[in-house]
């Protein structure tokens, strides 16, 4: 018996997580497009999704592809990815820690950004992350680990500095 929930409930449950993933992977500026393309593709495929599928992992997988499409399109137009990634200036609280964290995220190699987002932000197990990224679970684990060390030290640095600059 097909008792699939209305797609709206999928959007409600996962909109925030998918946007945060996109923001980490392609930056705030392109994240909106990545988000929209992810949910349009998901809505198209939704009737065929198995009942027992992990919806969150499915959405992250789609978001991963859409983000890669965006990064490749940028590269084709010869615009360095790092430069087109939006900064935090227009979003959120313009506190020092936000600024430093966005800079730290931008400076990470793409694989580390992706691994950090999928494992630490979403909470997917490394085996799942490896399926999305390609490669082994160990490689996914190392990429996530390297990335999180950088972000953690940036975060702690910002916390100990305290007041916004």
């Amino acid at each position: 018996m097909d008792m699939k929930r209305p797609f709206e409930s999928i959007v409600t449950a996962h909109a925030q997580t998918v946007l945060r993933v996109c923001r980490v992977v392609v930056g705030t500026h392109d994240a909106d497009d990545a988000w929209s393309e992810t949910f349009v593709a998901a809505m198209r495929a939704y009737p065929e999704l198995p009942q027992d599928a992990n919806v969150e992992a499915w959405l992250v997988t789609i978001a991963h592809r859409k983000c890669i499409d965006i990064i490749r399109a940028k590269q084709r137009h010869a615009i360095p990815v790092d430069e087109v990634q939006g900064g935090p200036s227009s979003l959120g609280i313009p506190g020092a820690e936000n600024h430093d964290l966005w800079d730290a995220v931008k400076a990470l190699p793409p694989k580390q950004r992706q691994a950090v987002a999928y494992h630490y932000l979403v909470g997917l197990p490394y085996a799942e992350v490896a399926q999305i990224l390609g490669g082994t679970a160990d490689a996914a684990r190392r990429a996530a680990s390297d990335g999180i060390i950088t972000l953690r030290s940036t975060y702690q640095g910002a916390l100990s500095e305290g007041a916004p600059r």
Partner: protein, 236 residues
Amino acid sequence: MNDHTRSDRTRSDRARSDRARSDRARTDGPLPGDTGDMDMAALFAFTSADQETLARLHRTLEAAASRQGLLDVAYTTVDTPVGPLLLAATERGLVRVAYDCEDHDKVLDTLAATLSPRVLRAPRRLDTAAREIGEYFAGRRTGFGLPLDFSLSSGFRQTVQRHLSQIAYGRTESYKEVARIVGNPKAVRAVGSACATNPLPVVVPCHRVLRADGKLGGYIGGLAAKTALLNLERAA
């Protein structure tokens, strides 16, 4: 382009949890930096979006889904004197009007199961319906010109429901009269269940059907709502 969804489809839960288990076994010895997830919410707080941003993105999804023909069922809710009404439409027309007492979440689940799971809150498709219903409750409209989609009912029930729109504003018919008019005078009870299962109450005026003795009979939105609609039409 749907490679990822196809491979996703082939995964079973069992394989998934097996992988997760072996994954955990391998990560027992933490790498540096891999020191638990306690502060992850705080660490990633900087990535979170406000409600306004999410609402704006939802509107882009509504527009894109509609443009690409993916919006199988659009819905919204409108406030009326008989409580919030859920309005849902396919590309063919208004397919469902539901009272609060029917439980809107349950109604949406049923639409997902019977029509399509591509159900999205997308008020634009319901703009005309919402406007006409507003005018009706304001006493400024006596009939609806909306395209209707009767795909939630069939057979005799649909025949009865299609006839209901012929009952003029402010007039009533008995279940017995309706049975006679649709050509099945003995089917009085079946007319009753056709009214009770009307997927488009208010717009398809099943509230204009009463018992032969003048008593209200039943109503999908409750007798208070039926009385309110009859009084509204009497007053106008």
